[in-house]
Amino acid sequence: MDMIKTLALCLAIIIIFGAAMVGLNIHTSKVIADREAALLAGKELLYDSADAQSSQLVDVGANVVTIYKLSEGGFEIVTTASSTYSQSPMQITTVVDGEGKISDIKLENYTDSIDFRSKDANYISTYIGKDSALAEVGLVAGCTYSSTAFKDSVSEALAALISNNLITAGKKSDEQILTELIDSVAIGFAKTEQIESDDADIKKIIKAENDTGFAFIISNADVQYLAVVNAMGVCKVYDTEARDVTSEQSAICDKAVAYAAKAQKSYDADLQKKVEAVMEGAAEITPVKADTFNSVVSVCSFKVNNESYTALYSKSLGYDIMDVYVIIDSKGAIVKFSAKEFIFHEEYFATFGGMNTSEYQNGFTGKTAETFTGDEAIIATATMTSNAVKQSVKDAFESFSKISGGENNE
C-alpha cells in the first residue's frame, strides 16, 4: 500500500513540476529570445567564418569566428585560442571602439589545466584601453602558454580590423618593438622572464629560463637597442629596424656581455664531463664559442685518435627543460646522442608506453643536417619531448655549421 501511495505521490509531484516547468519555459524562452535579439540588435555582421566566402573582408585570421560592426561605433570580434594545455578552445569576445582601442574583453569556455585568471585576476583588464600595439600588456607567469594564446588571439582580432582599414594600427614603442624582436633573433630563449635592472641605461633585462642567454634593451644617446648574449658569451646588437648593428654599438655589447658574464651559468664543465664519459680517449677538449642564439648552451671540440669531433649541449624546452648532448664528427654526422632525461615525470602519463632508450639514441647515429628529418626524434605519446629533441638536434647542426665555417673559434 505504501509503495503504491509513494508511486502515486511521486507521479503527482512529477506532473505538477512538469507542468510548472512547461509554463515557466514558455515565459523564460521569450525572455531569453528577447535578450538575444537585443544583443544582436545594433550589430551588423561583417564576417562569419562559417560563411567566409561571402564576406567582403580580406586577410582575416583563422582564429577569427565573427566580426560585427556596432551601431554605436566600433566593432565586436569573436575569436578562438588554444594553447598546448587547452582541453577545448577558449572563446574571446573583443570589443573595439571607433578609435581602435579595446573597450571590453570577455573570455568564455576556458578549460586549460591552470586558469591564468587564478594567477592574475586582473590580467584581462590590462587590455582595456589598449590599441593594437598592446603596449605594456605582458603574459601571466606560470600560465605562459594560455596567456600567450589569449594575447595572440586578441592581436589577431585587431589585425583583421587593421588589414581591412576598419581601424588604424597602434604605434608600438621602441622598447616593445625590440622586445618582440627577441623571438626572432634569439629563437632558443624559452620561458623568458624579466628581471630588475639597477643600471639606468638598461631599460629591460630578460632572462631565458632554459639558460640559453640574456636579452637587454639598452639605450645609448636616447636611442634604444636590443642586445642578445648567448650562453657562451657571444653578443649581437639590433636596432628597431631589426638590423645587426653589433660593430657600431660595441659599447652596448660590452655592457651586455659584462652583465651576462656575472649571471650566466656556464655548461662547459658539464659538457666536458659528458665527452670524457662517452668518448673514450677524448683529448684536447677545448670550449668553442658559437655565434648562434638557439638552444645550444655549450660547445667544445676534441680529438679521439687524431679524429676531430664537436660536442654540443642543448637545453630546449619540452615538457620540461631538456639537457641534450650531440657529438658530431668532422664530416657533420652524429656519432653520439643522449639526454639527461627523455621523459619527465613518467609516472604521470598513463598513456606513455615506455621507450627503448638505446634503440632511440642509435636512431640518430650517422645522421647529418641533410639526412636528419626530425622523424628520428618521435617518441610515441610524448609530443612535447619529441619536438624538443628535434629542436635540439636541429640547433646542434646549426651551431656546428657556424663553427665549422671557422667563425668565432677561441
Partner: protein, 199 residues
C-alpha cells in the same frame, strides 16, 4: 519539558560544513555568492512549504524519493528563472547551481525540519537558514574577493592591487576563510541557540 526547536537550528556553522562545496565554489566573487545564496534561500523556502504541507500524507519509506523530487523540481524552476534573468550569474556558478538539487543543506532542512514540523515553523527555519547561508557566503566572498583578488564585484580596487593575498582566491584560501567564519559563527550562536531552546 518539551523543548521548542531552535529557530537558529539551521545553525550556520553546521550549514557551512554541509555546504562547504558551495561556499568554496561560489565565494570567489560577491555576485556569484549572492546568486547562490538567493538560489539556496528560495529552494529552502519553497521546498519547506510543500514538504511540511504534504508531510503527513507521505509514507515513511517514500520520504526520500518525494523530497528528492520536490527539491530538484524547485531547483530546476529556480535555474530556469535565473538563466532567463541573471545569465551572467548562472555562467559564474556553472554546474554548482544545478548541483544544489543534491545539496545536503536542502535535504537536511527537508528531512529534519519541514518533514517534522508545521508549515509556519518550517518556513521560518527555511527563511532563517537561507538568510544565514546567503549572509555567510557573502561575507566569505567579500573577504576572498577583496583580499585575494583585489576586486569587488569583478571591478579592480586600484589601491589594493599590490597587496593581494593571492592564496585566498584559491581553494586553500577558501578553506581558511571558511574555517575562520565557522569558528566566529559557532562562538556567537552557540550560547544564543542554547538559550532559545531552553526557553
Amino acid at each position: 519539558m518539551n523543548k521548542k526547536p531552535c529557530l537558529l537550528r539551521g545553525n550556520p556553522s553546521l550549514l557551512l560544513v554541509l555546504g562547504a562545496g558551495f561556499v568554496m565554489a561560489s565565494s570567489t566573487d560577491v555576485r556569484a555568492a549572492l546568486g547562490m545564496g538567493i538560489a539556496v534561500l528560495l529552494t529552502l523556502f519553497f521546498s519547506s512549504i510543500v514538504i511540511s504541507a504534504v508531510r503527513n500524507i507521505i509514507p515513511e519509506k517514500g520520504k526520500l524519493p518525494c523530497y528528492v523530487l520536490i527539491i530538484t523540481g524547485f531547483v530546476s524552476l529556480i535555474c530556469m528563472l535565473m538563466e532567463a534573468y541573471y545569465p551572467d550569474i548562472v555562467k559564474m556558478l556553472g554546474v554548482h547551481l544545478a548541483a544544489l538539487a543534491v545539496s545536503a543543506v536542502a535535504f537536511r532542512d527537508a528531512d529534519e525540519v519541514a518533514g517534522q514540523n508545521g508549515e509556519w515553523h518550517s518556513i521560518k527555519t527555511a527563511f532563517v537558514t537561507g538568510i544565514f547561508f546567503t549572509a555567510i557566503m557573502f561575507v566569505c566572498a567579500l573577504i576572498r574577493e577583496i583580499l585575494g583578488n583585489a576586486t569587488i564585484c569583478g571591478k579592480p580596487i586600484e589601491f589594493l592591487q599590490n597587496y593581494k593575498i593571492s592564496f585566498l582566491a584559491q581553494v586553500f584560501g577558501a578553506y581558511v576563510v571558511l574555517a575562520i567564519v565557522i569558528a566566529i559563527i559557532k562562538k556567537i550562536f552557540k550560547t544564543k541557540c542554547k538559550e532559545e531552546e531552553d526557553k
